[in-house]
């Protein structure tokens, strides 16, 4: 992993481009489809409503009284 992550915001697309290029550089091109699958999982993970945010969003997910996804009161749409 000699190349730094590139892109301005460390998005999943930035990560995937870097990881895929690094895998090819290391002689592992067959890793690319697996990394694409991992990118799908990463997108879902990052979009999850439990993720806390310094602005105060998401801190309630998982609490016993938290709203369930798809129920009234859900703060954001889920992927």
């Amino acid at each position: 992993m000699s190349e730094p992550l590139h892109g301005d915001n460390m998005t999943t697309e930035d990560w995937l481009a870097w990881a895929g290029a690094d895998a090819v550089r290391r002689g592992l091109p067959e890793l690319k489809p697996l990394l694409e699958a991992l990118a799908d999982a990463q997108r879902r993970l990052r979009a999850a409503d439990w993720n806390e945010d310094a602005a105060g969003r998401g801190a309630d997910a998982g609490r016993p009284d938290a709203a369930r996804p798809g129920e009234p009161g859900e703060p954001e749409a889920r992927p």
Partner: protein, 453 residues
């Protein structure tokens, strides 16, 4: 037709051995003969410790003759998944990476089984380093399902399930990081228990993902799994004592997890599960639908937890000797090296959410129930399978209904609930409250006679 003694349950054998009516040498010899006859085809064992097993069996028989019985496990032939250390024997993890390794001491679970009188017949085959669900990526060849040898027995503890099904051992010890005890149990028609996380020591067991790894038994019935669990926990029952105190089915409250779980199910698996529920209701159990709202996030959380933890363990070996790994397992390890720390942290938070939601689902019921596998045993080497007209990844499906309870740490057990028209077993999974594995076992023992077709 008479069932040979080495196909009996431990609960049936224990009083016969204690009374001197059945000898451990005869039982062990019969198991070794099954291994000799069928292991070339089924590849259930990597190492067979025939001489040591017969020596142990002779010692156990001598003890009985002298009036000493160690307990219900006295003289019972048992196998160990080849991730678990047995002193003086190689722990291969089904990998060439471990060539030359010999365990210096027993893992604590091995030592406890030994002290309880178990006879070790050998080390069972598995998916290399337990890093897969089909037991086909093994340096010692793909394990085959006895019900249909073109099919996988499930994994990663595939050899253990095959061993107890075919009389090669009476019980076996496996490990479960995403379902590796419950998956092969379901695919082969055995009982497989994953206790609460942390209850059984994993020292002396090759890790896959330390925060998800569990040790547990595969057995022929719930009572046998219960016994093995108690012995490995360090609280073995005394000789002649009872240990499997089943609940009454009447009045049991079972939570049926439908959203997510029933979204992708093979039609015959769905049918077997529905029939099992009907029989339980007929026997007096009450069923209510419950939900785990974030269950659909399980796979993304699991990947971002298990992959980097596995990569950390394998980093040095995969750099030094990548050619010693099977290609698929090597790629999965490499995949883990690209997971970012911030995503691992997100997954940790997701685990807390899932744990709270499973706790909540269990709040008003005695246990959760769901199929163990959404499909019957897949063809060996098949990357995908058709379910309801859609092509699905075999690996994703195999883990789909089990891995969530590795993330949350809840105890879970798979018991057989009949077979498909092609004779492939289906599994009925029951999930209990954390830190109360015995309550789960009591529920499972109650359900067992109702769901076994």
């Amino acid at each position: 037709m008479t069932v040979p003694l080495h196909f009996y349950a431990i609960t049936e054998l224990a009083p016969l051995i204690a009374a001197g009516h059945v000898s451990s040498v005869d039982l062990t010899t019969a198991c070794l003969a099954e291994i000799e006859a069928h292991n070339d085809a089924l590849r259930a064992f990597i190492t067979v410790t025939a001489e040591e097993a017969l020596a142990q069996a002779r010692e156990r028989d001598a003890e009985i003759a002298a009036g000493r019985c160690r307990g219900p496990l006295h003289g019972i032939p048992v196998s160990l998944k080849d991730l678990i250390d047995q002193r003086g024997v190689a722990t291969t993890a089904a990998s060439r990476v471990r060539d030359g390794h010999i365990a210096a001491i027993d893992a604590p679970v091995t030592a406890r089984l030994r002290e309880a009188g178990a006879v070790f017949v050998g080390k069972t085959n598995l998916h290399e380093f337990a890093f897969g669900t089909t037991s086909d990526d093994s340096a010692y060849g793909a394990v085959r399902n006895p019900h249909d040898q073109t099919r996988s027995p499930g994994g990663s503890s595939g050899g253990s399930a095959v061993a107890i099904l075919t009389g090669m051992s009476v019980a076996s010890i496996g490990t479960d990081t995403g379902g590796s005890i419950r998956i092969p149990s379901a695919a082969c028609g055995a009982v497989g228990l994953k206790p609460t996380y942390g209850e059984l020591p994993v020292d002396g067991v090759v890790p896959l993902s330390r925060s998800l790894d569990h040790v547990g038994p595969l057995a022929r019935c719930v009572a046998d799994a219960w016994l093995m669990y108690l012995v490995m926990r360090g609280t073995p029952p005394a000789a002649g004592a009872s240990w499997a105190d089943a609940r009454r089915v009447s009045g049991l409250r079972l939570g049926v997890v439908r959203p997510y779980v029933h979204d992708i199910l093979d039609d015959e698996v769905r049918g077997r599960f529905a029939q099992s529920l009907a029989w339980l209701r007929q026997a007096g159990a009450k069923t209510v639908d419950v939900a785990i709202p974030h269950a659909a996030d399980t796979a993304s959380i699991y990947l971002h937890t298990s992959l980097p933890e596995a990569a950390a363990y394998h980093a040095a070996s995969v750099e030094a000797h990548p050619e010693r790994y099977t290609p698929n397992v090597r790629l999965r390890i490499e995949m883990g090296r690209y997971v970012l720390a911030e995503d691992y942290a997100r997954a940790e938070r997701g685990r807390e959410v899932l744990r709270a939601e499973v706790d909540r689902a269990l709040a008003e019921v005695d246990a959760l129930v769901l199929p163990t596998l959404p499909i019957p045993a897949p063809k060996i080497g098949a990357p995908t399978v058709e379910v309801s007209g859609k092509t699905e990844s075999v690996r994703n499906l195999m883990l789909r209904l089990t891995q969530i309870f590795n993330l949350t740490g809840h105890p879970a057990i798979s018991i057989p609930c009949g077979s498909t028209q092609d004779g492939l077993p289906c599994g009925f999974q029951i999930v209990g409250r954390r830190h109360d594995t015995e309550a789960l076992l009591a529920v499972a023992a109650a359900c067992e006679p109702c769901v076994v077709a």
